[in-house]
Symmetry: C2
Subunit: 221 residues, 2 copies
Amino acid sequence: MPEPSVPLPALERMAAYMRCLMQLERENVRTVSSQEMEALTGISAAQFRKDLSYFGEFGKRGIGYDVGQLHQRIAAVLRIQEEQPVLLVGAGNLGSALIAYPGWGDYGFRIVAVFDEDPAKIGTDLRGVRIRPLRDLPQVNRDLAARIGIIAVPADQAQAVADALIDAGVTGIINFAPVKLLHPEHVIVRDVCFICELAVLSYLIHAQEAAPDGVPAQAAD
Amino acid sequence: MPEPSVPLPALERMAAYMRCLMQLERENVRTVSSQEMEALTGISAAQFRKDLSYFGEFGKRGIGYDVGQLHQRIAAVLRIQEEQPVLLVGAGNLGSALIAYPGWGDYGFRIVAVFDEDPAKIGTDLRGVRIRPLRDLPQVNRDLAARIGIIAVPADQAQAVADALIDAGVTGIINFAPVKLLHPEHVIVRDVCFICELAVLSYLIHAQEAAPDGVPAQAAD
DNA sequence: TCCTGTGAAGCTTTTCACAGCA
DNA sequence: TGCTGTGAAAAGCTTCACAGGA
């Protein structure tokens, strides 16, 4: 009944298309073709059309796609057409940077609670959200019922935080800590390893120098 | 002469292997087999061996891999065996979080200069690195000769910053701003879109609920 | 024996190229 | 005509399965 096995890379591109469509909306562009999307995103027109085809028909032959409508339909596919509550654990530098990110609302997410263990931080406000002790997590999420959690704590605390989030009913985790988390099968964990990006970049730069046409040196979006 | 067209996913896994090997070194583990690496990273033993094979032979048959030696050789492959200077543009929340990250040294990177446009920040210190105005970039990098730059500024400034970095000799950019950057072919740009990760997670959570065995729901590492 | 390194098979994803509709 | 949607072909990546050295 749901979409039959969509390639994961296609899903990742869907988020990129949405970003692009929001930009076009701000510029009051009404209609866009797959060709134009290729110019804007760097993703080929054929790829764009194929990606959309996993989820249905979205355009008008001979015309293109209605920008606003396509935005809405992609949001519906990604299940971000209505607000989704998110829990953030860790109110250090990274946590602060995350909560300050201006795009949450555009993507239908809202940080509804922030947790930290530092007594100096507990009770204070981070952009209008009170910081609570981690032990309050189960009780707080009984009301909030958030399914998504973000781990922004040091590596040595990450597993304990993951366990607590999962106990509290979270089924999807974005993990910024540099450790592999153990978790039950029904929970989905996505690791964000930004220094890995740098390492890959380092390789690609040097590979390109050594043989300017050797490795495709494709950028990741 | 260099490695003939290594799959990009293989490169991304190399960084993950390195992270795992550093952990093993801290635990004083001397030898590791591809089986054990599978247990630790979630990446299959066959995949691990195949990935390494793109770059040479690293193990001993019947024994496994020497942890320290493998770490060194992967570092050499990624060109992070000796310190690489990195420029950071943007000293806001995100920039501060990045510079506070404790793993830079482990991966052979060092932030050698920080730039920002905010007069209130210029001249102050961020973790021992002085914040300079962006206009100083060309001159500063004449000495530092960094090839890698990180863009951690708002979307509307990102293109100008990218242009400045490229002018100053940077050939690889990690872009945290939510815009597609225009750049010459010889420059490699990798976008980090953390909210895209959340959007994908949102889809996967709901897909799994709808059909617990429909979509593989594989986590990204 | 144990475990690596690797060609070949199998599977996934991307690209092509064109039918079909406005 | 113009541009979408999509089977089929091509390319790319992963897994298999086993030869071969310690």
